[in-house]
């Protein structure tokens, strides 16, 4: 089962790199925020799998719970912050 968990973790890291593309080239700020949220939801699963790989499940589960809460609070706060700005694009569009 250990090899299967390792393969699952590596595939998850590849999917996180796919989502990182949207966080880097996203045209608006909220696209970048969306990419970061997708990476966070995959990281919670990856932390629990890492606990199984290192045979320290009870410690990594607590870290995963704290990371999930932190990700949720960060996304809510950033969305509230960026909705006050009028132009969401990074570079001015000439208007």
């Amino acid at each position: 089962m250990d090899g299967f968990f390792l393969t699952t973790a590596l595939i998850l890291i590849g999917l996180m790199l796919m989502t990182l593309y949207r966080a880097i080239v996203g045209p608006t700020v909220l696209d970048r925020l969306l990419g970061v949220n997708g990476i966070g939801s995959k990281t919670v699963v990856l932390l629990v799998i890492a606990g199984h790989l290192f045979h320290r499940e009870e410690m990594f589960v607590d870290i995963a719970l704290a990371y999930g809460m932190l990700n949720f609070i960060a996304v809510i706060a950033s969305a509230k912050f960026f909705q006050k700005r009028k132009g969401l694009h990074q570079e001015p569009q000439g208007q």
Binding site: T8, N37, V44, D62, G68, A79
Partner: protein, 108 residues
């Protein structure tokens, strides 16, 4: 028997996660990108965390049952928090005046 169920749940979760990531990369518009990010990530987290909690119950002892219970707690939290975060993002985009994409316009 338990291993077969756990492997099936984890592979199913990986497939749904792949669909969500592909949608986030490929869809043409901000609002349509929120659709895979909101639903498929929640469903895939549900599958994978459920499978991991089931694998934790392989040998019954007090610590393993407590860890499985904590993983179930994370599952309930993700099930509530992930759609709420997506709704907050789409609310921010709508209030900031982002126009939805219609057919024939270039990709944004």
């Amino acid at each position: 028997m338990l291993d077969i169920i756990v492997v099936t749940l984890l592979v199913l979760g990986l497939i749904v996660f792949f669909g969500g990531s592909l949608g986030i990369v490929r869809f043409p518009d901000f609002y349509s990108r929120l659709h895979p990010a909101g639903k498929m990530d929640t469903l895939a987290s549900l599958f994978m965390l459920g499978g991991l909690a089931l694998y934790e119950l392989n040998d019954i002892s007090s610590t393993s049952v407590l860890t499985a219970l904590k993983i179930m707690l994370i599952l309930v939290f993700v099930f509530i928090a992930s759609p709420t975060a997506t709704h907050a993002i789409v609310d921010a985009g709508f209030r900031a005046g982002q126009k939805p994409w219609t057919q024939g316009q270039p990709r944004r």
